[in-house]
């Protein structure tokens, strides 16, 4: 397959450092993050609460607020570094070429304004047109999301819609101008399971149709299993493992990833004790000098006092990278004892 002149990837994050300056100290919430996202790819960014995944999303979108500050790194969106943009230039991209969806649909929409108002303003922020035209675009967008009676929905207020409907509206707003990148920050966490599955599949379709790149942030591996092309696992502000979804899920190399997969209820047999990762997420103020996961790691040794760099332990999959001194399959898996 020959490639015509190489287009820059949709998103390339290089060594991103976002720190929070609180009165108790400086928290390295995002600690040297790097990844690449090609056009039309879906990346699942997985991590537990406090791993820095949401802050990563805000940092990329340019929505970071005090006391957080981006202190190092580059965020290259289609080759252009977003971090060096003037606010006015960045605003032209936000909601237009870059979009974000948040977790809580009730909080996302302004409760005292009609859906119509909020959608029309989103249209007119990036397109010179009349209110009527903007309204029409909003209607079309809602219809394309498969939302029934869009006229009524427009006139409604957020609290009059169900949770799932609100989230669909939020997604519709995000996709209004056909962005090249959408960041979804746990959009289905607050919804029930059936709704979750529905929205997941809807988003999947939309993204495939339009060739939009998507970063889906979640703490739930099972959610991204069917949706993502690539997975990046985050722990304490760092990516500890990344690769294609098949690679990471079938051949996890990092003990944390293995712990995550192992603790999924579906991976456990009924009647057996539920597998867990021992210990708790680290206090960012009190991080160990070397590998952040060492205190909880079954394979920890003295060499883990040094921060590990990325390595590619599986020769068959060069894109599969791990940040570990002792990468390898899980002890009790067949791969460990060939």
């Amino acid at each position: 397959m020959s490639l015509p002149e190489r287009q820059p990837p949709t998103l390339e994050v290089r060594d991103l450092h976002t720190r929070f300056h609180t009165r108790d100290g400086v928290l390295p919430v995002v600690d040297g993050l790097s990844f690449t996202l090609e056009r039309g790819q879906v990346l699942g960014l997985v991590g537990e609460s406090g791993s820095g995944k949401s802050v990563t999303g805000y940092s990329i979108m340019g929505l970071l607020e005090a006391p957080g500050r981006i202190e190092h790194g580059q965020v290259l969106f289609q080759g252009q570094d977003l971090l060096t943009l003037a606010p006015r230039e960045r605003r032209k991209l936000q909601g237009h070429r870059l979009a974000m969806i948040f977790q809580d649909p009730m909080g996302t929409l302004n409760p005292v304004l009609r859906i119509e108002t909020q959608m029309v303003e989103a249209v007119r922020a990036h397109r010179r047109c009349s209110t009527a035209q903007a309204r029409q675009q909003a209607l079309d967008s809602l219809a394309s999301m498969g939302i029934p009676s869009p006229q009524e929905r427009l006139r409604a207020y957020p609290h009059q819609l169900s949770g799932g409907m609100r989230q669909r509206v939020a997604i519709a707003i995000a996709l209004l101008h056909g962005p090249d990148l959408v960041i979804a920050d746990e959009p289905t966490t607050a919804l029930d399971v059936t709704l979750q599955a529905q929205i997941l599949s809807e988003v999947q379709t939309l993204v495939r149709e339009r060739g939009t790149s998507l970063i889906w942030i979640t703490h739930d591996l099972s959610v991204v299993a069917g949706l993502a092309d690539r997975i990046a696992v985050m722990y304490a502000g760092r990516i500890v493992e990344q690769g294609t979804v098949d690679e990471v899920l079938d051949h996890p190399q990092h003990p944390y990833t293995q712990g995550l997969i192992g603790s999924l209820p579906s991976a456990n047999r009924r009647g057996q004790r539920l597998r867990q990762i021992i210990g708790m997420a680290p206090n960012l103020l009190d991080m160990p000098a070397g590998c952040a996961f060492a205190p909880r790691c079954p394979r920890a040794s003295d060499s883990c006092g040094q921060r590990p760099d990325f390595s590619a332990p599986r020769p068959a999959a060069s894109g599969h990278q791990v940040r570990c001194h002792h990468p390898g399959p899980r002890q009790d898996s067949p791969e460990a004892h060939p």
Binding site: M61, L63, E65, R91, K92, L93, Q94, G95, H96, A99, M100, F102, D104, G107, T108, L109, N110, P111, V112, L113, R114, E121, A122, A125, H126, Y157, H159, Q160, A170, I173
Partner: protein
């Protein structure tokens, strides 16, 4: 909606009725109502005649009904000092007080809201800090003392503004207003500003607190994510949410402002209802005191009702509760 309105009006009427009962009982519990309502410089025969006329020799419940009856017809007794119907007297003075109160509230809004907005959006800015520190001084200031200082500086020392009185008036809708004349405005400035001082601090702090509560909410972030200009985020999204509680508080503050006008009117010799009540208390003109009480109750209950209504209209979550 209509159902709610009717219920609220019913509640309000109940409160007013309750207050009439309280006032009535108060009249009879504190002392001899004859003394309170008739006055002390009548001889024995005149007294007996007055008592009979006012029905004070009737059983209690009859008297109460008579009192209510009189109240409904707008008659709550005759002032000793002015020899006029007390209710009528108060109504005459009310426009002056209202003028003062509304001017004060307008000042508070115009000065307080922008300052509060700024303090909420940029709390670390030295000007914001200064404004907040000033607001603490603002509502610590004893209003009557400030009035004296204002007079001292602007009237005695600088001679810019008059120290007392209401100034020239012009008629509008059958009532004499002073803000329609330049001379009237000059007289209005100092007392209105004095009355407004406390309110400015209140409005500023309320606005700031409101902004601080609204800003971290997700929908503000989402608005920014849409690429909206900061101006639009502020004026449409933040302000709309902040204003709703602010407006309700202000509505209630109008009542409180009318009440506190008593002090300001007394110092600036502003001929409003407040000055009237103070003079009446001091000269033991009790019918006026009673009438004033009833008028104030009425004003307050109506204001409460209006504010509730306004809140319902402004906040769609509350408005459409029954509909959805």
């Amino acid at each position: 909606m209509i159902g709610w309105l009717l219920r609220r009006i019913g509640q309000a009427a109940l409160v007013v009725l309750l207050m009439t009962l309280v006032v009535f009982i108060g009249l009879h519990a504190i002392g001899n109502p004859a003394d309170i309502l008739i006055g002390e410089d009548l001889n024995q025969q005149e007294r007996l005649a007055a008592i009979a006329r006012l029905g004070l020799d009737q059983p209690l419940w009859r008297q109460y009904l008579a009192f209510l009856d009189g109240a409904l017809h707008g008659s709550l007794g005759r002032s000793f000092v002015y020899q006029e119907d007390a209710f009528h007297l108060i109504l005459q003075r009310l426009p002056a007080t209202l003028e003062l109160a509304v001017a004060a509230l307008l000042l508070a809004l115009v000065i307080g809201v922008p300052l509060g907005l700024a303090a909420g959006m940029w709390p670390e800015h030295p000007l914001s800090r200064a404004a907040m520190a000033a607001s603490i001084v603002g509502f610590s200031l004893p209003a009557f003392w400030v009035a004296l200082m204002l007079i001292m500086v602007f009237s005695v020392h600088l001679g810019w503004l008059p120290a007392s009185g209401r100034g020239a008036t012009r008629e509008w809708l059958g009532i004499a207003w002073s803000w329609l004349t330049l001379d009237g405005l000059q007289h209005l400035v100092l007392p209105a500003f004095n009355l407004a001082l406390f309110k400015i601090s209140l409005v500023m702090r309320l606005t700031r607190a409101g902004v601080r509560e609204v800003l971290p909410q997700d929908f503000v972030r989402f608005a920014r994510a849409k690429g909206l200009s900061p101006a639009r985020v502020l004026w449409v999204h933040v302000l709309r949410n902040t204003l709703i509680p602010l407006v309700t508080v202000l509505g209630l503050e109008l009542g409180s402002t009318i009440a506190y006008a008593v002090v300001t009117e007394s110092i600036f010799a502003w001929p409003g209802a407040g000055k009237l009540i103070l003079d009446s208390i001091n000269s033991l003109d009790r019918p006026v005191v009673v009438a004033y009480l009833m008028v104030v109750v009425l004003i307050f209950v109506s204001l409460n009702l209006l504010v509730d209504l306004l809140y319902k209209l402004l906040d769609p979550r509350v408005r459409l509760e029954g509909a959805a």
